[in-house]
């Protein structure tokens, strides 16, 4: 084996640097990527395109309906039962509306 001058100090340098490398590697565990994610990264960014003139609104395909009753708790947690929920009249939405805040006082 050939020895050079550099061999003598090499161990000193690596010993000093090793702990720092370990420390910087620690948090990467928290941001572990899903394996497939990097495969699709890079390349082009999205190039904004206009909406084609032929595009039809979704309202042409789906009809407007009253909101379906999603649960049987419209009378509160106590006193309600499943039969009430299945009542056809309960299709009329009875959601509790929140207090009115005008749209324009946001933003």
């Amino acid at each position: 084996m050939v020895r050079t001058k550099a061999d003598a100090c090499a161990t000193k340098v690596s010993a000093a640097k090793a702990p720092r490398k370990v420390l910087s590697a620690g948090p990467s565990r928290a941001v572990a990527k899903t394996p497939g994610k990097e495969r699709y990264a890079g390349g082009h960014s999205y190039n904004p395109q206009p909406v084609p003139a032929w595009q039809k609104g979704i309202g042409n395909f789906f009809k407007s309906v009253p909101k379906p009753q999603t649960s049987h708790s419209q009378e509160g947690s106590s006193g309600s039962n499943d039969a009430v929920a299945e009542d056809a009249t309960s299709l009329q939405t009875q959601f509790q509306k929140n207090g009115v805040i005008s749209d324009d006082d946001d933003d």
Binding site: Q55, G57, S64, S71, D103
Partner: protein, 261 residues
């Protein structure tokens, strides 16, 4: 009283990222079965339908059905104040005109709460009929996002053609044409990487590139996406959200005009 606690709070942050560019505001319908949101985009071209089941939350309480109209930009601003590993709790009183978002660090040493004004939104609700689609394509969500992004360099339309051999995405424009073919994968080594096609009949449909790219904002929610297509009915782009629900986007295809006209 409404209260929903999500230990994996990043899910709610990703949900907002998936809808905030399509919708300015939306009503969150809270019931004891979970949270639902349905809204058309600002131009009424596409429809977003979000479903988060109560069982998917770490704690869920909803004494009375509640509609919470929210400005999604404001909500997104607040959720950006949460760290990715924060526990998020959403709270509202039955008749309140505000909603509270509470963020807790995993070690409980930092707790923040933000109160946001609710809005009274009068939004249309659309009935989505059960449809037997001619084809359902399941593929990696990252692959779909990459394809939509790449094809956006070419033109405003993306053609999706599905046969039993595979699916082809195409676009054409001033610089030329692009075709991306994905073969149906036979191996099931990595389920998330598979391309599965459930085909009743071959389908070729054209969609607006811009909307498909907006839908791909949900990519972070799921490693998989499914595309359900039939002629003359809206495409469904569905991202499952773990075992707690899903987000679905609906978009009408290009309808060929009646040849007799």
């Amino acid at each position: 009283m409404f209260e929903a606690r999500l230990v994996q709070g990043s899910i709610l942050k990703k949900v907002l990222d998936a809808i905030k560019e399509l919708l300015n505001e939306a009503s969150w319908d809270c019931a004891d079965s979970g949270i639902q949101l349905q809204a058309m985009d600002n131009a009424h071209v596409s429809l977003v339908s979000l479903n988060l089941r109560a069982e998917g939350f770490d704690k869920y309480r909803c004494d009375r059905d509640l509609i919470m109209g929210m400005n999604l930009k404001s909500m997104s601003t607040i959720l950006k104040c949460a760290a990715n590993d924060d526990i998020i709790t959403v709270k509202a009183q039955d008749n309140a005109d505000t909603v509270t978002f509470m963020f807790e660090s995993p070690n409980q040493e930092k707790v923040s709460d933000y109160e946001m004004k609710l809005m009274n939104l009068d939004q249309e609700h659309l009935g989505i009929p059960d449809t037997d689609y001619n084809c359902v394509i399941k593929l990696p969500s990252g692959e779909f996002a990459r394809i939509c992004r790449d094809l956006s360099q070419f033109g405003e339309n993306i053609v999706i053609a599905c046969t039993k051999e595979g699916v082809k995405f195409s676009a054409a424009g001033d610089i030329g044409t692009a075709n991306i073919k994905l073969a149906q994968t036979s191996s099931v080594d990595k389920e998330d990487d598979a391309v599965d096609i459930d085909l009743q009949e071959p389908v070729t449909l054209t969609f607006a590139c811009q909307y498909l790219n907006l839908f791909t904002k949900a990519t972070a929610l799921s490693p998989r996406v499914s595309l359900s297509m039939s002629p003359d009915v809206p495409l469904v782009v569905e991202y499952p959200i773990g075992d707690m629900g899903n987000i679905r986007y609906f978009l009408a295809p290009k309808i060929e005009e009646d040849e007799n006209n």
